[in-house]
Amino acid sequence: MEHREGALGKDALTLWLVQSTIARGRVLDVDAEAALAHPGVVSVLDHTNAPILGQGVDEPDLELMVLQSTEVRFRGQVVAAVLAESAEAAREGAALVRVSYAEQDAEVEFGPDTTLEIPDKVNPDYDATSDDGDVDAALAQAEVVVDQTYRTPYEHNNPLEPHATTALWDGERLRLVEASQGPYAVASSLAPLLGLDVADVVVTSPYVGGGFGSKGMAHAPAMTAALAAITAPRRPVRLAVTRQQMFALTGYRTRTVSHFRLGARPDGVLVAIDHDVVEQTSRWKEFAEQTATSTRTMYAAENRRTVHRLARLDVAVPSFMRAPGEMPGMFAHEVAMDELAVACGVDPIVLRERNEPTVDPETGKPFSRRRLVECLQRGAELFDWAERPDDARSRADGVWWVGTGVASSTYPAKVMPANQATVTSCEAGEYRVEVGAVDIGTGSRTAMKQIAADALGVDPSCVQLEMADSSIGPATVAGGSSGTASWGAAVVAAAQLFRADHGDSPDPGLQTTASAADIPAAEDHALHSFGAIFAEVRVHRWTGELRVPRLLGVFSAGRIVNPVLARSQFYGGLIMGLSSGLHEDSYRDPRFGHVVTQDLASYHVAAHADIGDVRAEWLDEEDFVVSPMGTRGLGEIGIVGTAAAIANAAFHATGVRVRSLPVTADSFVS
């Protein structure tokens, strides 16, 4: 959180977290004597002296019930926190706290023998299963069958700005400056547990250094800072989560195992799609990644079945990471499609064209727009696809095998309800527009100003925008590629109502508050963006080293409000997709369940030298079925399918099929 003006930071105390070293059990004792004796240490919070949370709350969120009991539910859980006059003293104090435990057996990894459950719903509220037609019978009769298992690893969001909270309790109100994708969401999840009204928890997030989902909800550190602030009234408390602590406390993407069975005619036309997902959640707070939901919509087939099965483990809580569900699910589906193309001897783009549905296979509703085939064809043109040899391992350049691959991409379009915006007329034809949006780096501050100016029919310089403050009112998070459409719809509604009520030349001081209007047509349509990802991969003949000299995405994502911001989102998605394709892997210690690769030297993300010629294009369009601005959202679609395009290109280069991420050199040396 970077801000000089209005900072709460003066005279702040520093808070440092102490984390459990066991995966499951009870805290017997927190010995703070040595820590308290260290110069500068002010206090040590633990379960015996922390303010009580969640009184009168049914089923409180256990992730936020920090320091409320002796129970340890995962390794890395907050079991104490040290408050000190300086960061150096707080950190040293935390190292001096001695915690003793009664340890219990823990289950921290899933395998063939793990008990699995089908959850009631998968994130956010999709059915966990779907079943149309008779998949088993169709597969039994299918002339071509692809039957393979695909794996994606644990992954951590790792925004460059770590999570941080500054909290100040003035005796009646709690003020938090929080690195968050949703200040209102943080206020509304902390307030009830603290016994406060939402209005008495004011959360601001003026500048946020990326999130990618990990800042999409309040996590334990924010609540720990709030608790510490209550014990130190009128002094701000600052907590900066360390990079290492982020691997236990701020969410991650679950490992997934997708068993795919595709049944097809010899020409590649699908008759059956079966996607069986096994993944995990923490035992005490469920997050079920919606890995198979995109499979329900992607291609036509008479017989389709999906199921998600969850292992409940004694581990940290998984959460949103860019395109939860679509990213791992489409990796599996799009590599399986490539395998089907090879099995049928059909070009991968032609295969996808042959399986293009006319309506949403899942709901039978028409798509608001579905331009996947156009994306594939435009990408083929830009990528010289026509010159691609059909056979794998048929092109070499010196010591490098060279191949190209393609994958489809998709992401649902969402407009979240419950956003409101306020328009106030000011002097000299200016307007103040307030909306609880937040800019995590996407440029939503710019986009909201453009949308407001457009809706009011004034120059953007006449709009004073206020956002990133929970006290503005209900607002949804910068997530799910829904921010621009959801906040923007409220801004448009407020602007239109303002004009209807007060006309084009209002006196200063007039005000209108409104929520987004419903779009009835949205109910009758399937709302999705689509894209096509193309990759060129070179694999070193002797070392197996992989390079991606070319990466291209062509997207159909609704109206583009601002081309500079849009291109940056597409690039960012493609590059994070490349990163997951080649590098990212949170290696879990099978004994204790914590992440071993818990820093940026061992959890590798794409560096500059990994990037070649990256390009993104979009089709011109507007989609007024989704939102009044014609937008569909574009923060996530770039990551979807990218790792599959890379794996498919690596196959085309070498003839070696890799079915688990990341795709690494060892697969290509034998």
Binding site: P159, L160, R243, L574, D599, A607, H608, I611
Partner: protein
Amino acid sequence: MSVQLSVDGRRVDVNVDPRTTLLDLLRERLDVIAPKKGCDHGQCGSCTVLLDGRRHLTCLALAVAQDGAEIVTAEGLAGGPDGEHDLHAMQRAFLEHDGYQCGYCTPGQICSAVGMLAELADGHPSHVSPDLTAAPKATDEEIRERMSGNLCRCGAYVGILAAIRQSAQASA
């Protein structure tokens, strides 16, 4: 312990805890918040400044060891906090080419890029230099290689490269 140093042209004389890193001294004591803490372990590059003219990771430097050092942060490159109208050419190039998204890694990227071009001009070879004895050129490959100590999780590398390429051409 007492140290004297110059930060963005300002003389500073401070007593520091021997455990304090240069990054924490800048941010927490001197309110110079351009360098960012992304990892605190020298793995991300967000805290990069120019220290005695060379790019340096402030999270890996102890403040007590910097007596007499001259430090220029991204803020100092622009001529201080009020220097918005006097941006360094590299900063203008980042703006022009959209070389950032969230902006958190950006001050480190910019300091690193300025230091990197100076290393190139001084003839330092890199891992990808084809000839270790010849003067290296600011090719895309060289720039990408030499900037790989500065991670950008938003993936703004395309714009970062374009910005640095432009600056390299302008200064060549």
